[in-house]
């Protein structure tokens, strides 16, 4: 099992956001987590990736059978957990090229591999850029600085392609994308999908799931999963909305 | 700095001499604690004298010519013999105000209103009278405010000031009427020292308008210091309106202490004055304190305005804003020295500072120093300063619509000033001050405009004075 979350409770400050969350993800699977705004979807992503300020008050997160509750974010990343940010951060003055090279080498160092050779790195960059239709000039710019919304999201998928994680969490990657960009992102994800990795797609809408077909769909509400099913559940949600969930599971 | 002065300027000598003559008599009707502070301050003053422009904080403001003037240090008491509005007509009117007056350094009002207590317990009146009536209250706060930089004006004030205004707002009282302090000199060649003490309890509210005006063209020198204490959850709006003649020097020092969750709004508007130095110190002592300190000065001729603002973020979670704007014409000189201090561990501080200035003439001069001294990391602090002229594109745009150059220029200056004016929350006061600014920009607002001497009207009385022989 790649990811195993057991009875997870997460608080921000005094406020409990995740309230007893369970999820198992195996290699080769695509899971979609859906639900109305404010139910804790992004908090879940932050907790899995180890963001400061998101306190796990109860429960366990296992990744590749290891308990990772107390791991630093960079260790989790080096072990293969990747987060595609809902709002990618701008880092002025740091070029995409240097950023990627630093990240890739950090991962290699973690696995006791020598740094990647310059030529090989550039070749890899070119190859992965094509995957998400990134224009060359973007990688010469500072990380996310002055990128449009669509460019930022494509850039996230590009980084995912470069770092080849075993678990990728896509946090609202579809928000703010037009249909063309959405297709590009989906194409990138589909090409990266393999028997050795898994995806957790956090989304509010069903439309991304038209292009990336999930094996499982989970509906999250008030900090936990209230309903799970196959890809049909997403279609059902699209037509019926989330109101019924609020009625059924609301306090 | 610590060297003892060898020689004194005439004004310093006069001050020391006046102290020698009066100090013993003063002890009879004032609090012993105050006499003691007076004594210590005099010792300090003898060491330093008035500040010279070698001192860092006085580099841009050279007051030495004033020290040479034949001024007399005036500490006599004034007898009340006519209503204040017979001496002075305030330009700002049309709103409910409780007027307190200081004439030539003394509290000026009829015997029965030296100190009044409202039904809600708000005490207002003469500081000297308050020492008699409420000694423990005065003692608790007098001389306790922490100034930013010690200098000869503060020690001179402590040594020489006998009277001033005292206001006390007890816990839970929101004062509806605006308190207005009118401070005037009407005798030739006086240097006066006044001291105000304003204390706000918890959950209170007060609006205070502090006006410095001239009623004649005589030279004069006012050294005033206000100590202000704002209690928890209380709010003070403080307006300073300065419209003095070109011969008067004013050193106006205000130190405010803010308790938790208190709010302070200061607006300093200098419309005229020979030499005006405003020093505002905001000590944020309680978490959640907020302050907004704004200033506007419109000066010309050889006027000189120096605004010094010190904001001390002594504790976390406070916010301060400073906005000072100046329009300088002819040979005027403007100075802005804004200082923000963030103490170690004063995390989550927000501090903003902006100084914008427009120079209208070749000979006008502006010195601006917005400064940040920060010892905590989780803070948002920024400052900006600009010096420039009116936007020539905007000027052209207006002229292309048929507006004359003069009118267009005035419109733009008014627009520039409006950002500060807009901060005045009392509607009638804002309208009044806006009107004064408009007239000021048209060059109409000078001392002559409403001066009781009416030099330009021979049919009106020429001299208007208090007969000192009656004292």
């Amino acid at each position: 099992m790649l990811l195993n979350i057991k009875d997870l409770h997460v608080s921000i400050g005094d406020k409990e956001i995740i309230k007893g969350f369970n999820l198992s993800v195996n290699k080769g699977e695509v899971h979609a987590i859906m639900g109305p705004n404010g139910t804790g979807k992004s908090t879940l992503a932050a907790a899995i990736t180890g963001r400061e300020g998101y306190d796990i008050t109860k429960g366990e997160i296992f990744f590749k059978d290891e308990l990772i509750n107390d791991w630093e974010p960079d260790k989790r990343a080096s072990e293969g957990i990747f987060l595609s940010f809902q709002y990618p951060i701008e880092i002025p003055g740091v070029s995409m090229t240097n950023f990627m090279r630093t990240a890739l080498n950090a991962q290699r160092e973690y696995h006791n591999l020598p740094p990647i050779a310059a030529g090989e790195f550039l070749k890899k960059m070119e190859e992965k850029k094509k995957l998400v239709d990134i224009q060359s000039k973007l990688t010469n710019r500072s990380v996310n600085e002055g990128f449009s919304g669509g460019e930022k999201k494509k850039n996230e998928i590009f980084q995912m392609a470069m770092l080849e994680p075993s678990l990728a969490i896509l946090d609202e990657t579809d928000s703010g994308l037009d249909i063309d960009a959405l297709k590009v992102v989906a194409k990138g994800v589909n090409q990266l999908k393999s028997e050795d990795n898994a995806f957790v797609i956090i989304t509010h809408y069903q439309r991304l799931l038209d292009y990336i077909v999930p094996d499982f769909v989970h509906v999250m509400y008030d900090g936990r999963i209230v309903k799970s099913g196959g890809k049909g559940l997403a279609v059902e949600l699209e037509s019926s909305g989330y109101e019924w969930i609020k009625e059924q599971f609301g306090a | 700095m610590n060297k003892t002065k060898q020689t004194y300027y005439p004004l310093e000598e006069a001050l020391i001499e006046e102290y020698g003559k009066k100090a013993a008599a003063w002890t009879e009707d004032e609090l012993p604690g105050i006499s003691k502070l007076r004594h210590e301050a005099m010792r300090e003053f003898r060491k330093t004298g008035f500040p010279g422009n070698k001192l860092e904080k006085w580099r841009s403001t050279d007051m030495e010519p004033v020290y040479q003037e034949p001024l007399s240090v005036f500490t006599d008491e004034i007898t009340y013999d006519k209503k204040i509005d017979e001496i002075f007509q305030c330009d700002v009117h049309g709103f409910q105000a409780r007027v307190l007056s200081l004439l030539n350094g003394s509290y000026y009002g009829p015997e029965e209103s030296q100190l009044t207590v409202s039904p809600e317990g708000v005490i207002a009146g003469s500081l000297l009278a308050a020492q008699r009536e409420y000694p423990e209250l005065v003692e608790q706060f007098y001389g306790k405010a922490k100034t930013a930089v010690a200098d000869g004006f503060k020690s001179a004030n402590k040594a020489m000031a006998r009277d001033g205004v005292f206001i006390y707002v007890p816990d839970g009282v929101e004062v509806k009427d605006t308190f207005q302090l009118i401070k005037i000199l009407n005798k030739k060649g006086l240097m006066v020292h006044t001291r105000n003490l304003i204390v706000l309890g918890k959950n209170t509210k007060l609006t205070f308008l502090h006006c410095d005006d001239s009623v004649n063209h005589h030279e004069g020198f006012i050294n005033t210091l206000s100590e202000v204490f704002i209690g928890e959850n209380s709010e003070l709006e403080l307006y300073k309106l300065q419209n003095l003649n070109d011969e008067t020097a004013l050193v106006n020092q205000t130190v405010v202490h803010q308790a938790a969750n208190s709010r302070l709004k200061v607006n300093v508007m200098t419309l005229n004055g020979g030499l005006v130095r405003n020093e505002i110190v905001d000590q944020m002592d309680g978490e959640g304190a907020w302050s907004d300190i704004n200033g506007l000065f419109l000066i010309d001729k050889e006027q000189h305005v120096d605004n010094q603002v010190y904001v001390y973020h002594n504790v976390p979670h406070c916010e301060s804003n400073q906005l000072f704007k100046g329009v300088l014409d002819e040979q005027s000189l403007g100075v802005f020295n804004g200082f923000v201090y963030v103490a170690p561990d004063a995390q989550k501080t927000n501090a903003f500072q902006q100084s914008s200035n427009i120079l209208l003439s070749r000979d006008a001069h502006i010195d601006t120093m917005p400064q940040l001294e920060i010892y905590a990391d989780d803070v948002k602090c920024s400052h900006g300063a600009t010096v420039g002229q009116l936007d020539s594109d905007a000027l052209f745009y207006l002229m292309q619509r048929g507006i004359s150059f003069e009118d267009a220029r005035m419109l733009l200056m008014y627009a520039f000033a409006d950002e500060v004016l807009g901060q005045i929350s009392i509607e009638p006061l804002r309208v009044n001050i806006e009107d004064m600014v408009k007239r000021r920009l048209r060059g109409e607002l000078s001392i002559c405009d409403r001066c009781v001497l009416h030099c330009s009207h021979p049919d009106k009385p020429i001299e208007f004075d208090i007969d000192l022989s009656k004292i």
Binding site: D74, A118 | P370, L372, D377, A385, T386
Partner: protein
């Protein structure tokens, strides 16, 4: 791209230990007794075989120095300096005149090799002429042939005094008079050597000129003097870099740099300052009190200062421009990093005197540990400076809650056609940026190095390539251990 290679090296070095330039070279010194007096000044002057007028200049400076006091307005705290406890002259003994690198003291060459600035390599690879100063006296100047072809003079200050006395006499003290300030007076009295550069009319110097300064013998104050003159239409880019060996006692450094640009001339002066900053507990380190000033004397002249300040226990330094010529341009780009107990009070002065003069100030301060970092600047627009323009951006970044970041700009404007704008912000390093980097697998310390280098990019980009590399490394090295 070499840029990537550099990045890699930087990151590697972030993780490697203490101050790497802390070693000590054992070169026999010919030094004066401790202390300062007219006799010592005569000794220095005689030792250097100086003309009478220069001795007079020194003595006048000394006599003036005696009448003034050390400035106390900077936000710096240090124990009083005992000026009588300093050796004012120390020179490596000259064995004989050197005509090639082979004749240079092998131990000295070794020192340079450890610093990674081997003269041979510099000569062959970098195309940079190096005038290396060890303990105040120039040892070796290379690339003279290339320079000679263009009639460029680039030599040690002492040589210039001997070979070009008229030029030195004409310009010495013309931008920084000995009366300028306390440390300028001291330097004028006791300076031992430095660099001299003269670019004749219409000549663009084809190579970047570089000097590496290095403090060596114990208790030796270093008092260099640099004078650069670019005649009409001349251009030169000059690099100054510093590394100092590890020492326990505080060492005083009070240099003067004077730049003069005539009509249409341009001087670009870049510094990477990495004197020993003291240890983690604030013990030791260099006291660096420097007066640097450029005079844009001619119309349309330009002087540009770029500095990366990472070293010294105390930095007191305000590279300035006097914009006298009409249409002249002054620039100041600075990155100052302080860590542990370092204190830096640095900035610039832009004096606009001529018409249409323009100046730009970009300052990036980074404070970590328990250090204090102040920007202090002045922009002055004189009465005749029609249409003068200044833009200043001074940002401070705080790493940790025990350090201080301060901004003291001073704007004096005396002309109604001038436009002066100053902006400053102070903030801490963003948690969001840190998390983003960490989520990509980059550890905390490397993430900080990356973000800080990005933050300083605008200034680092102004440095010549070779320097930019070193500067990036230094930023990362200086911030080592700044996160707990």
């Amino acid at each position: 791209m070499t840029d990537e290679k550099n990045e890699k090296q930087v990151l590697h070095e972030v993780t490697s230990g203490e101050y790497k330039y802390g070693f000590f070279t054992n070169i026999e010194a010919d030094q004066a007794p401790k202390g300062l007096s007219e006799d010592i000044i005569r000794f220095i002057s005689a030792k250097k075989n100086e003309p009478e007028w220069l001795l007079e200049f020194r003595l006048k400076a000394y006599r003036h120095w005696l009448t003034i006091e050390e400035p106390d307005w900077a936000l710096l705290h240090h124990p009083p300096i005992d000026y009588q406890d300093i050796i004012y002259y120390s020179a490596p003994k000259k064995k004989k005149e050197l005509s090639s690198l082979d004749e240079v003291d092998p131990e000295l060459l070794d020192t340079f090799n450890k610093l990674g600035i081997s003269l041979e390599e510099q000569k062959h690879l970098a195309g940079v002429a190096v005038d290396a100063v060890v303990d105040s006296v120039s040892v070796k100047t290379t690339f003279q042939d290339t320079l000679k072809k263009h009639d460029i003079i680039f030599c040690s200050f002492s040589e210039a005094v001997q070979d070009h006395p008229d030029l030195v006499k004409k310009y010495l003290g013309s931008v920084v008079p000995y009366t300028d300030n306390y440390f300028a007076a001291l330097n004028s009295a006791v300076f031992t050597d430095g660099s001299f550069c003269f670019i004749p009319k219409g000549v663009r110097c084809p190579i970047e000129l570089s000097t590496y300064f290095r403090i060596n013998a114990a208790n030796t104050g270093q008092f260099e003097r640099t004078l650069i003159v670019a005649e009409e239409g001349g251009y030169v880019s000059y690099l100054e870099g510093c590394t100092a060996p590890m020492r326990d006692e505080n060492q005083l450094h009070a240099a003067i740099v004077e730049l003069i640009a005539l009509d249409n001339a341009e001087i670009k002066y870049s510094t990477v300052q990495n004197w020993y900053p003291g240890d983690k507990n604030g013990k030791g380190g260099i006291y660096n009190f420097v007066t640097k000033r450029g005079l844009c004397k001619g119309n349309s002249s330009k002087i540009s200062w770029t500095q990366v300040e990472t070293g010294s226990a105390i930095t007191w330094k305000y590279p300035s421009c006097i914009l006298l010529g009409d249409n002249s341009v002054g620039e100041f780009y600075s990155v100052a990093v302080t860590n542990n107990f370092q204190q830096a009070d640095t900035g610039t002065k832009m004096q606009h005197l001529g018409k249409n003069t323009r100046s730009t100030i970009i300052s990036k301060g980074i404070s970590a540990g328990q250090s204090n970092n102040s920007y202090r600047g002045m922009v002055r627009v004189g009465k005749r400076a029609e249409n003068a323009r200044n833009f200043s951006q001074c940002d401070s970044l705080l790493l940790g809650d025990k350090c201080g970041a301060h901004t003291f700009p001073y704007i004096k404007t005396n002309n109604p056609t001038a436009i002066v704008e100053h902006e400053a912000t102070t903030s801490k390093i963003s948690d969001d940026q840190l998390f983003y980097c960490q989520q990509r697998g980059i550890d905390m310390e490397k993430s900080i190095g990356l973000i800080v280098n990005g933050y300083a990019k605008d200034v680092l980009n102004k440095l010549p390539m070779e320097f930019a590399v070193e500067a990036q490394k230094l930023l990362a090295i200086t911030l080592e251990g700044s996160v707990g």
